[in-house]
Symmetry: C2
Subunit: 421 residues, 2 copies
């Protein structure tokens, strides 16, 4: 019994203490593991945790196995048990996850570099299968809860009241301004989703874009849209791996792909950037989910949602990609709270669609997506995940902006054209 080390397993805070037998003991062990998260844990009539408003939610278990699994391997098992309905969460799911993650993080040790070295190898074939797993669920599904342009990455909210639609357009403009796009320039985009950014760049900034993606469904949809909008002559969508890119360009951009690259392939991404980017005029941007320090991603996410994904600490992205690519970091912006808000929009739309019976698939699928969206929102909210936009230019290039003021001045536009002499 660990009654002295955590408040929720102590007699004063635990309900049903005394006479609750093995189930009570199990729940108190779990509560200890999750301390000091303000959560209640229940199995049948046995309840452990703070009473009344002292808890943000109650985790209700269907059977003892669900509790045992959670004590052993909380991240992975919680996801699986939640998906199967063996755990129900009564109350605020996002808040419950936020507190649970915080508790787990505080008990966790910082992994050593050595431990983190056990990454998977991302062959071209495995990358394709990883991408297929998540992104080829059918565009109709994503249309239910993404914005109208299907942008599946963090938006940029000039202020929190802005709509998701506006914020996704603002994000694309923010990226384009950071890159200082000039008409007639060439852009290579690695990992283009449904093509929204590539089309936006061509339409609004007059550039030519080569954009690649491994998802067949996404590429097909992107090509259709390019045809429909008369942009097919300026945007080329390639169903291929970023590693095969070798076209010289003025601008390299990748939004939401680095998470899927796998650390063993960082050097290959560095080679692509170095090979593609013009050493005099070039510049680039990486937009990715990161961490404050190196640590493995949530086990359930990497097993069930994004196979092989990894969110690097900023230092890992620099050491692994931008330093070997011989790039100079010009600007880093952390948009963590913007991803939290983006996810809140997605989750609310998703839940409306579930309620209205518009989400097909089975109950298990719907619960998986509920947890994935709520858990991601919680992770950005409590700082387990970060969102970095890193702007860079080749080492020694003086074709760089004088200040960042142009990013915030709609009239002035980009400041990439100011003095270079």
């Amino acid at each position: 019994m660990r009654t002295t080390t955590h408040p929720f397993a102590s007699p004063s805070l635990a309900h049903g203490r005394g006479g609750d037998g093995f189930d009570g003991w199990l729940l108190r062990r779990l509560a200890g593991r999750m301390a000091p998260a303000p959560l209640r844990f229940a199995l049948g009539s046995v309840v452990v945790g703070p009473p009344g408003a002292g808890a943000v939610a109650t985790l209700r278990f269907r059977d003892r196995r669900a509790i045992l699994g959670l004590i052993r391997s909380p991240e992975l098992h919680f996801g699986d048990a939640f998906a199967e309905g063996r755990i129900e969460v009564d109350g605020d799911l996002v808040a419950a996850l936020e507190h649970a993650y915080r508790a787990l993080e505080s008990h966790d040790h910082v992994p050593t570099r050595a431990r983190l070295r056990s990454w998977r190898w991302h062959s071209l074939r495995r990358s394709r299968s990883n991408v297929h797993h998540h992104y080829d669920l059918g565009n109709d599904f994503y249309r239910l809860w993404l914005d109208e342009q299907l942008v599946y990455t963090c938006a940029y909210f000039a202020s929190p009241e802005v709509s998701l639609e506006e914020a996704q357009v603002a994000k694309m403009d923010h990226v384009c301004r950071k890159l200082g796009l000039r008409p007639g320039e060439t852009v290579v985009e690695a990992g283009c989703g449904w093509g929204a950014l590539a089309l936006h760049m061509a339409r609004r900034y007059g550039v030519r874009v080569l954009a690649c993606n491994l998802s067949r469904e996404q590429i097909r949809s992107a090509r259709e849209r390019a045809d429909r909008e008369g942009l097919a002559d300026r945007v080329e969508f390639l169903e291929d791996d970023y590693r095969r890119l070798d076209r010289r360009c003025d601008v390299f951009v990748s939004v939401g792909m680095l998470e899927h690259v796998g650390r063993r392939s960082y050097g290959e991404l560095a080679d692509v950037i170095r090979r593609c980017l013009d050493p005099e005029r070039g510049r680039g941007l990486l937009h990715f989910i990161g961490r404050d320090r190196p640590r493995p991603l949530n086990a359930w996410i990497t097993e069930r949602i994004f196979p092989g994904a990894y969110a690097p600490a900023l230092e890992e992205a620099l050491e692994g990609v931008l330093v070997p690519a011989r790039q100079s970091v010009l600007d880093v912006e952390n948009l963590r709270r913007h991803y939290e808000l983006t996810l809140r929009h997605w989750r609310e739309r998703y839940e409306r669609a579930v309620t209205d019976g518009r989400v097909g698939f089975d109950e298990r699928f719907r619960r998986i997506w509920r947890l994935y969206l709520a858990g991601s929102e919680a992770a950005f909210r409590m700082g387990s995940l970060q969102l970095f936009q890193v702007t860079f230019a080749p080492h020694g290039s003086n074709g760089i902006p004088w200040t960042r003021a142009g990013l915030y001045d709609a009239e002035a536009g980009s400041s990439w054209n100011t003095p270079t002499s």
Copy 2:
């Protein structure tokens, strides 16, 4: 003979080829080492290198020993020989150094982490002596060429035409806005120079500041200024090492000190930040000279100008200081071109003071400072050195700005007060 590998040692470009004997051979070896820098090399009447306007400068040697030293150990020996007048540079000194650095960099190998591990230990005593070496030359000397407030770090030029005086005030405001200072808050400043920033923060933003510095001359001058301006009750200047700071504060700031910390002491700086910064409301800023990748600083600089100095790659500052301090990076801005321009102002003022006979000391001292200022300008110009401002807050803190727009909107001021819910 390496006539096929570099143009300047080839017969078509070299003057005085044939019959110039050992001196010509030596100069051609040196030219090969420095290829493809557009430089001429001369000893007596023997000249090697491109004729006429093909070269930006001529390096004129007093004796063969100067050439041999340069071939053996270019960085350290050039500085020493220049200081002693055994090398003269006819032409544009900054451009000559820029091209020379670029040539050396292109021949150089990227140092491994292992090689870089041979850092010096920075004891409290050695740190004091290192600081004394450079900063206690007498305030009158620095008054000759710094701005009126004696700010000896990179300025922020809203546009390149702005005066140095304005740009130093703008830099201090830029830092204060990044930190979102609020009246009544407490600030700890590690390495405060002559106190300009500490006094600026107290005067304009109504905060209380504890600022430390190892330089006795600088601290004395800062205290006098605080008294004169009636700020002594709000700004405390401490003649001490940053490692002894242990006062809880809302804001931690350090401008131009990390370069002197020494990598073996990064963990101690991390401890100071973690110990001092309020985990809920805290935020901080590090402003430092950095690199695009880990490599040793110019040998002459670390031997003769800043003993024990090291300019870290961004990844080293993160891994060494901010990750162990459990901080989250919010914003990184690279102000490299601003330091180039700052140095141009300093150099021009310095040279005017030399011409007018206002710089005391001996000829050797004056040449050392000429080279140091010109070489630094060249290094920032060609990207050997970077200037990073990194804004951070404790891991998981949601008391962070919503966007960076407030930095660029004089009316709106800081955006640190926008939504945190």
